[in-house]
């Protein structure tokens, strides 16, 4: 490689691209995030809630949107498309077409006047064409960047030369009808493809009657559930009434080889269950039915969610796939005809039918694959390998998310961090070369006198037409501490921001209040302005008189004006008590500890070491390789040693990896950047210091003693035991597999995810090695998700016999026969077997229960490690600097373990690549004089920031030791929970102090 460029282009601004961009930018690389649409956020921004926790999707996503928009190392290119990629790994030239938006992004203040004046109505894509938007629009309320765009196809001026309202009414002269598309070239070292998926177009399957107004797609239903959707969160029929009976039809555009969509879409079973559950929360009388082939609840917490939906919430799951939707020609009533297992055909009426549409590769992803010259598979997804799931066929170009295979949000996020890891390994030597840090003037001393400046924003007519702004300004001038007050038409426009800097200097101000809109979007902007004016950013307060006042009291102008005065009075009372807050820079240890020497642990170690950091890899057993060693073949036909052995070679020959086998971590203390621990093993007794840790301690296959006579007869084995036997040839004519042996029951309520795919692979091999052999698979649900559905299809084609049993009527096993009631046929079968193979679940090692308290990290109900957030933080703990990956987190397949391991490495690298650890300003601090050492703060803090430390107190009379709490500034997040818990008031959250809160209350209640 001749040249390496320390920048990466990320193509696609959904959750995958966002996560890759954040990881890379925080690892010292410059990022160009290129998004085709007008806002980043992708499909996740359209979701109402996310399974299986029913978290609000937008609430978890929007902090990430904000982080991207503010990141100094991320350049956002929205409304842009890649048109060419030339060059090679390390040095690519990427051509990007930036489409004309016709709105000057620097001048637009997002006041929305143009929207109210635009006469053109266009189907609203964000709401999946339910309802309309204008031709000048913001994609959705939380859109990033928050800039309006004119849709040239529908604008009356641009299409017909008429109207011109937006330009006429824009007070900032931001409309530019002459705007032209622009071609730019960027130079990057690597490219990450993350264009996501396109929902299957169900209108091409006419039998599902998407033309009927009460047949909608699952994404349309999702928008209906959302409070920001077309009906403010109420599920609504075409006539405006609300449905009593809703049916979901699964696998529309999935598991359908006849139309070229043979794959499972991985997420539909769970999103349908979620949608039914949320709809029932809105309307408890609602009856919901989900028609499915199998319920594919294979991810972490999914099976439990499904059982809850079925058994507690009363959602009806019917195992049948209606061939279409019937519409009564006279009454227009919808009904579904379906086969009842073992009991003929049934027909039922529904008010609404939701089509659970699958995930397909988008047109733009095909173009992108062509432009970047990477291979795609038969289904149109970008081709990767099991041991390198983020690597495309072209070096230096990586891939993440649903463009590689249908997948859910956590798997996408893991992939995204994983792809970032690969790009950042490639460009490790260039870290820090292209990034910029903004310089600010030195802070001025603020002195003791309070001199507060207040800017009251009219926000065009948004505030100004309701609140009497001049009256408010005059009132504000009388408030304590206020030295100057003025109004602005748009406080956030660039000239007004300069005006705030000038105001601070001219009037020698040391505190600023801006009364305008919400701090959730605008606080960082004004804080930056303060810094440019030489003031500490914490000497600022935003008084929200738009969202919380003028917009919600539009018909009560007097009351709104009084409320605006109250809000500003409260804000000045608070700002007058603020003090400058500073961040600390702390030097730290940059070594990593990886626990567990399986595929996940080795991948994490290699990925971290490839970036130039030292890694200690600790394996409890005698050799590296982990759980995968007990298996012999992979789903793609390769042998497991084909991926394990090269990995071991890489680990042992790596300059910066030290391996300990037969060794365990027995002690651990400290916090991120400064952990200490003790390793103990055969011939090992060593103290270690490390900055970050990755837990990759894996899982084991359950020995299913007590299930289906395992252990009683020698011809009953597990899947891994079968694989060992297959190496020497299996001599059995009749082979029976039983799925879920010891899983999905009261002892282990979870689904073990991998077993169905492993069973398919082994059944195929048994059939291929001896086509005359009979192979039966007894199952509850076949969960060959994503692309692995093709193995299920192939097994059926080869003549493997599938019989479904239920948890109430499990197969009975004797030494030679299995008897099973086939639910589909409703008949009892007795099968003679030579070999019985049990698909037993993965279970956690006992060491989890000693390791978890050592790191103060949680385990879930099934004793797997519990990540910080099931959707968006799948490979990290709430405790800073501690990460997890692989089957330690939940059962998974090899490619998923590899993806998570690279992800954990990437997340760890965002810490290790810093020069210093930086604390946040608004942390909590302990007053040791008041602390009584009770330790309650240590119990409530989820981040382990407070720690009780023994100290020696010397008074004139005696010397004694006592305990005092101390908050680790590098770990504290500033939530303030400890302060509310502290019985003596010893803890102060520095930016939300007790006196500040009390002053605000007093300022409000005392009145004008």
């Amino acid at each position: 490689m001749s040249k390496l460029v320390g920048a990466v282009a990320v193509a696609g601004g959904g959750i995958a691209g966002i996560q890759s961009a954040i990881d890379l930018a925080n690892s010292g690389l410059k990022v160009y995030l290129i998004e085709k649409g007008t806002s980043i956020g992708g499909k996740m921004a359209q979701l109402d809630k996310t399974f299986p926790t029913l978290d609000c999707s937008m609430c978890t996503l929007s902090p990430k949107l904000a982080e991207v928009s503010r990141h100094p190392n991320i350049e956002l290119l929205t409304y842009s498309e890649i048109t060419g990629i030339e060059g090679e790994a390390g040095d690519f030239t990427v051509k990007v077409k930036k489409k004309a938006t016709y709105v000057d992004q620097d001048k637009c203040t997002a006041c929305e006047i143009c929207v109210s004046k635009c006469p053109a109505k266009v189907p609203n894509e964000y709401n999946e064409d339910q309802g309309v938007r204008k031709a000048i629009y913001l994609a959705f309320p939380q859109a990033v960047p928050r800039v309006f765009t004119i849709d040239a196809q529908h604008c009356l001026y641009l299409t017909k030369g008429k109207c011109g309202n937006c330009a006429k009414f824009c007070e900032n002269d931001a409309i530019n009808y002459e705007d032209k598309d622009e071609e730019v070239e960027i130079n990057v070292g690597s490219v990450i493809l993350s264009p996501g998926f396109t929902p299957f177009d169900a209108s091409q399957l006419e039998q599902f009657r998407l033309d009927h107004p009460n047949v909608i797609t699952s994404l349309q239903f999702e928008r209906q559930l959302s409070s920001s959707g077309p009906y403010e969160g109420h599920v609504t029929l075409a006539d405006g009434s609300h449905p009593n009976r809703i049916a979901w039809i699964q696998c529309v555009g999935s598991r359908s080889p006849e139309i070229g969509r043979g794959n499972c879409s991985s997420v539909c079973c769970m999103y349908a269950t979620k949608e039914a559950m949320v709809a029932m929360e809105h309307d408890s009388e609602l009856e919901t039915t989900i028609f499915n082939i199998d319920v594919r609840a294979f991810g972490k917490g999914f099976e439990e969610f499904y059982q809850k939906a079925k058994n507690e919430k009363g959602i009806r799951f019917i195992r049948s796939r209606p061939s279409g939707v019937e519409v009564d020609p006279l009454t227009n009533q919808l009904s579904l005809k379906y086969e009842v297992e073992g009991d003929g055909i049934n027909q039922e009426e529904f008010d609404m039918v939701v089509l659970s549409i699958g995930l397909t590769p988008s047109e733009s992803s095909k173009q992108l694959a062509e432009i970047s010259n990477v291979e795609i598979d038969d289904l149109g997804f970008i081709q990767t390998r099991i041991d390198s799931p983020m690597e495309t066929s072209r070096p230096g170009i990586f891939v993440c998310g649903a463009v590689q295979a249908p997948k859910d949000i956590p798997d996408t996020v893991a992939d995204a961090s994983g792809a970032a890891s690969k790009a950042s390994s490639l460009l490790a030597s260039e870290r820090g070369t292209l990034i910029t840090e903004k310089e600010y003037p030195p802070e001025k001393a603020i002195g003791d006198d309070i001199r507060t400046g207040v800017v009251v924003c009219r926000c065009g007519i948004n505030i100004g037409s309701i609140v009497d702004v001049p009256d408010v300004v005059e009132y504000v001038k009388t408030l304590p501490g206020v030295a100057f007050a003025k109004e602005e038409v748009y406080a956030c426009s660039s000239d007004s921001l300069e005006g705030i800097s000038d105001m601070v200097r001219e009037h020698d101000l040391n505190r600023v209040v801006v009364a305008s809109c919400t701090p959730r979007t605008h606080e960082p902007l004004f804080q930056e302005t303060l810094m440019e004016a030489g003031l500490n950013p914490y000497l600022f307060e935003l008084a929200n008189i738009r969202e919380h006042c003028s917009w919600v009291h539009q018909k009560e102008k007097e009351k709104a004006t009084k409320k605006a005065k109250d809000i500003i009075r409260m804000s000045t009372a608070r700002v007058n008590l603020t003090q400058p807050l500073y961040t600390d820079k702390v030097e730290f240890n940059k070594d990593a500890l990886v626990l567990g020497g399986g595929v996940a642990g080795m991948t994490a170690a290699i990925d971290i070491a490839d970036k130039g950091f030292h890694v200690t890899l600790v394996e409890k057993g005698p050799e590296l390789g982990g759980l995968l060693r007990t298996y012999t073949t992979l789903q793609d036909g390769r042998r497991t040693e084909d991926i394990i052995e090269p990995m071991i070679q890489k680990v042992v020959s790596h300059d910066t990896i030290t391996v300990f086998t037969d060794t365990e971590l027995v002690e651990q203390e400290g916090a991120v950047g400064n952990f200490t621990g003790k390793l103990k093993g055969i011939d090992v007794d060593e103290e270690i210091v490390f900055g970050v840790a990755v837990i990759a301690t894996g899982a084991n296959e359950l020995k299913p003693d007590g299930y289906f006579s395992y252990g009683e007869y020698s011809n009953i084995v597990t899947q891994s035991e079968l694989e060992q036997m297959m190496d020497t040839g299996v001599d059995a004519k009749n082979v029976v597999f039983i799925q879920c042996a010891g899983g999905r029951n009261d002892d282990r309520p979870y689904c073990s995810r991998a077993c169905c795919t492993v069973a398919m692979k082994n059944a195929i091999q048994l059939k291929e090695s001896d086509p005359g052999r009979n192979v039966y698979i007894l199952y509850r649900d076949i969960r060959t998700f994503g692309k692995w559905e093709e193995l299920y299809t192939k097994a059926r084609e080869l003549g493997v016999v599938f019989m479904r049993y239920t948890e109430d009527q499990e197969p009975e096993v004797t030494d030679r026969t299995v008897s099973v009631i086939d639910f589909l046929l409703g008949m009892n079968f007795e099968i003679d077997y030579d070999l019985l193979v049990l698909s037993a679940p993965m279970v956690t090692p006992e060491t989890n229960e000693t390791l978890a308290p050592l790191f103060k990290v949680p385990l879930d109900a099934n004793k797997f490690f519990l990540e910080a957030h099931i959707k968006l933080r799948p490979v990290e703990f709430a405790t800073d600097g501690v990460f997890l990956c692989g089957t330690a987190q939940a059962p998974k397949l090899v490619d998923e373990a590899v993806s998570q391991a690279s992800a954990a490495a990437s997340r760890a690298t965002t810490i290790l690549s810093k020069d210093y650890l930086e604390t946040i300003g608004n942390i909590s601090v302990v007053d040791p004089e008041l602390c009584i050492g009770c330790g309650r703060c240590t119990l409530v803090c989820p981040f382990n920031a407070p720690e009780l430390k023994e100290i020696v107190v010397e008074t004139e009379e005696i010397i004694y030791t006592t305990k005092k709490s101390e908050i680790n500034a590098t770990v504290c997040k500033g939530c303030g929970s400890c302060a509310a818990e502290c019985p003596t008031g010893a803890i102060t959250p520095r930016h939300f102090t007790g006196p500040q809160i009390m002053a605000v209350i007093k300022a409000y209640v005392e009145g004008i």
Binding site: S62, S226, V552, K563, A878, V940, C975, A980, I1001, Y1004
Partner: protein, 142 residues
């Protein structure tokens, strides 16, 4: 319109990540609501010290709303679970003081639930208007 209809003073503690966002979304959706309430922003509902709530009543608030993310959604893992525990204590204490239960409310509101926020303010305001000024209100405070 009655010129001097009494407007209660309601303090709403909102967490930065969810319920404050819910109040914002109410604004973005133009969900009209009575002008009875002032929001005090904290980073997490877990920051809300029972003392702050007592203090609000002692200063003269007619009602106090404690709001945060839905359980499981907390930006700081589980701050709202602690809020829930402290809230139970608060309820008991205020009952002892003889304060009507409708003057103190706990509600979980996500950042997308603008209408829920507005409805909440409307409902509480109506209830408090029926109750009249708080018995704890010091003399001289309206």
């Amino acid at each position: 319109m009655a010129e001097t209809e009494w407007e209660p003073k309601i303090v709403a503690f909102c967490c930065n990540w969810c319920s404050y966002g819910g109040a914002d979304t109410a604004g973005m959706g133009r969900f009209q609501q009575p002008a009875s309430t002032r929001v005090i922003r904290v980073m997490c509902s877990g920051r809300i010290d029972p003392l702050h709530v007592f203090n609000a009543f002692l200063e003269g608030a007619d009602a106090v709303l404690v709001t945060g993310c839905h359980l499981g959604d907390c930006h700081y893992v589980n701050g709202n679970e602690k809020t829930e525990v402290r809230y139970q204590f608060l309820e008991e204490m205020l009952q002892e003081l003889g304060l009507e239960s409708d003057r103190l409310h706990l509600n979980w509101i996500s950042a997308s639930e603008g209408e829920r926020f507005a409805n909440f303010i409307r409902d509480v305001t109506a209830k408090v208007k029926e109750l009249g000024p708080s018995p704890l209100k010091p003399a001289g405070v309206s």
